[in-house]
């Protein structure tokens, strides 16, 4: 009898022990985050800076007990800003890594290529660098974007060019990609609706190096009030310098004002030098901002990467993507479906690049921290109260 009770007791004890032991195992899960960013090729500066931001966020999250006991595992693959390579990498990632959520790509053309793949696989895709409108206007249920789309950038540019700068003529300069075209279209639509005139639309490939012929053409058009410019940083530096040399823009003694969008990272003005003086542009991440989330991020960034380093919007966006996944997990998400569900319900989440609230299409809609700055003669930024 005793022995039977003893056996029952041991069995009960063992069952409780097993239940207790298995409880945390059930609650703890590794959240798999697939990342598709350009690590090679001319756009690899996106990937390098993106990785810095993500590594910082992951360190902060994985250092303790994770989020709700969940740790994050990240796999970064090189998608090279190329639709073909991004497509192949996305398929391989789905088969081999089986991510719960995917972050990427940076370039619009590549993002458009991989969106249907993750949509079909029911894996949420979080984008933080592509501007093309199409990405969140194609009816995808699993695509989310914390980067302002081309309309959100181009429309205020066009409106303020006309109303605040008093511009009546513009020349559009943009790279020949989905993002470049969408940004230029967004500006043109608003500017023309207000009564402005587009004198010329000049597109260029990413292999153009010398912009003197383009600057010459613009100089021959006569007085141009504003020059909205949409291109990668390196080309924009050379373009600004050519426009200054041709005395088209303020930086070269002309009267035209170059305008731009979030494409340009912090540090552009120093690279372009005096040619950038008078450049007016939208910024989303401003390292001089005093919000606590921004100052904390900058302090942590400098502690990890060096006191003399200032994070760019690319660092900040990447950092925010991991924080956004963390928030979804904090709210109980544990797999692809529940992460998508939590993303769609996120409202007023404050991150370094602003407050995130997704609309039904997956596009962030709160433009609270987007503001205009103008490059000063000492190459610093002056915030414009627009």
């Amino acid at each position: 009898m005793i022995s039977r009770r003893l056996v029952e007791g041991i069995a009960l004890f063992a069952a409780i022990g097993c239940a207790l032991a298995s409880a945390p195992a059930l609650a703890q899960k590794t959240i798999k985050i697939g990342v598709l960013i350009p690590v090679s090729g001319p756009a690899s500066y996106f990937g390098v800076q993106g990785k810095e931001g993500m590594d910082l966020a992951l360190d902060q999250i994985n250092r303790g007990s994770g989020v709700n006991g969940n740790h994050f595992e990240v796999k970064i693959e090189d998608s090279a800003c190329s639709p073909l390579q991004a497509t192949n990498t996305a398929k391989r990632m789905l088969e081999q890594f089986k991510p719960d959520v995917v972050i990427g790509e940076e370039c619009s053309d590549a993002s458009l290529a991989i969106a249907p793949i993750f949509e079909q696989a029911h894996v949420p895709m979080l984008n933080a660098g592509s501007a093309t409108n199409q990405l969140t206007e194609s009816g995808y249920k699993y695509v989310f974007r914390i980067f302002p789309n081309a309309k959100q950038q181009g429309i205020p540019l066009g409106r303020n060019a006309y109303t605040k700068l008093g511009a009546r003529t513009a020349v559009l300069l943009y790279e020949k990609t989905n993002a470049g075209v969408d940004n230029a279209d967004g500006f043109a639509k608003e500017f023309e609706a207000a009564g402005g005139k587009i004198l010329a639309r000049i597109d260029f490939g990413r292999d153009v190096n010398d912009f003197t012929p383009i600057a010459t053409r613009i100089a021959a058009l006569g007085k141009v009030d504003v020059l909205p410019t949409f291109g990668l940083e390196g080309q924009q530096v050379r373009l600004s310098q050519a426009l200054a040399q041709a005395q088209v823009v303020k930086g070269g003694g002309g009267s035209g004002i170059q305008m731009g969008s979030i494409w340009l990272p912090w540090g552009y003005d120093a690279k372009a030098g005096q040619a950038s003086v008078g450049y007016v542009r939208i910024v989303q991440f401003d390292p001089t901002e005093k919000r606590k989330v921004v100052t904390d991020f900058i302090a942590a960034f400098r502690a990890r990467y060096g006191a003399d380093k200032t994070p760019t919007h690319i660092n900040a966006h990447a950092y925010d993507t991991i924080q956004l996944v963390a928030e979804a997990v904090r709210q109980g998400a544990t797999d692809a479906e529940s992460i998508r569900d939590r993303f769609s319900r996120i409202k007023d989440l404050e991150l370094t690049t602003g407050k995130i609230t997704f609309d039904a299409s997956g596009q962030t809609v709160d433009p609270s921290v987007i503001h205009f700055v103008e490059t000063q003669p000492d190459l610093s930024w002056k915030s414009l109260p627009w």
Binding site: S40, Y45, V48, N209, P213, A220
Partner: protein
């Protein structure tokens, strides 16, 4: 001066300058093909290395260590870039190309140039990172204005250096023993060997000269292009097109084609749009292949280099 005349003159000058940049890149390619009958796919990376060498030697060594003024530092950096190109060309030829050539296989050295290209590109990516460098020559800052016409001192420097490089190379090939020997090798390697010419040495010399030219092109292109480890690849496709349009391996043809492509490019930007540059240049290339496959200057191998 009427506006239209000033505009045409300005775009012509822009085109000549652009053409000189292309010629500087294409000269090395055409020299290697002319002598060795081989295409060097790694040429773009030698250009990039020249640009980085000039950048670091001008901004760090010459300015900070030697305390030279900016203009002198930049001019000195051009020689550093040529030296770096020549040294790299020598080392890669000794380690990769020469052993493969010695096996008598023509395909392997060609494929090896692709391998060397990938190696150099990724090596530079690891070393310098992908973020564009701001390489401004002091000559870029000075704009010269003649009425409505303008050009930077850098573009003048490019045209002058290109003219000197072309003249120097021409004089070397025509009036020196080594140059004549190189031409002999390009005409008939076996006969040249029978005449006591060291073919192996001369092929190595060709690669060194072509690599030095690539380094020179990189030093002059650096302040113009977006300086990243992929910088050279943005001009190499057009350089290949120029070599084909000019007549593969023909130096005079390469020079004419380079200037022609530069001018066509400038006027395409003015009247058709910069987005159509590649279309126009490659239509010209295809037309040339269809109508005159030998290139602008008819191919006569004995006169190529």
């Amino acid at each position: 001066m009427p506006d239209i005349l000033a505009l045409v003159l300005q775009q012509t000058l822009n085109g000549v300058y652009l053409g000189c940049l292309y010629v500087l890149v294409a000269l090395g390619l055409t020299l290697i093909y002319g002598v060795m009958n081989q295409i060097n796919f790694a040429h773009a990376d030698f250009v990039t290395i020249g640009a980085f060498t000039a950048f670091f030697s001008a901004s760090r060594l010459a300015t900070h260590v030697l305390g030279l003024p900016d203009a002198t530092a930049y001019l000195l950096s051009i020689f550093f870039a040529m030296g770096a190109g020549a040294l790299l060309g020598y080392l890669i030829n000794a380690a990769v190309f020469a052993p493969l050539r010695d096996r008598g296989d023509e395909l392997r050295p060609l494929i090896a140039t692709i391998g060397v290209s990938v190696l150099l590109e990724n090596g530079q990516l690891a070393l310098f990172g992908p973020i564009p460098y701001s390489f401004d020559s002091p000559f870029t800052q000075h704009t010269l204005r003649l009425g409505k016409i303008f050009f930077s001192a850098q573009s003048l420097l490019v045209v002058v250096v290109a003219a000197l490089a072309i003249g120097g190379l021409h004089a070397f090939m025509r009036h020196t023993y080594l140059g004549k020997a190189l031409r002999a090798v390009s005409q008939d390697r076996e006969t040249a060997g029978l005449m006591g010419i060291n073919e192996r040495y001369l092929i190595g010399l060709t690669i060194v000269i072509a690599s030095a030219l690539a380094g020179l092109a990189g030093a002059l292109l650096g302040p113009v292009i977006v300086l990243t480890p992929f910088a050279g690849s943005s001009v190499i496709v057009k350089a290949f097109a120029i070599v084909i349009i000019g007549g593969f391996g023909n130096m005079e043809g390469t020079i004419i084609a380079g200037i022609l492509v530069g001018i066509i490019e400038a006027f395409t930007v003015q009247y058709l749009g910069s987005g159509l540059i590649d279309l126009v240049v490659f239509v010209l290339l295809l037309a040339m292949l269809a109508v005159r496959p030998t290139g602008l200057i008819a191919e006569r191998r004995e006169e190529n280099v």
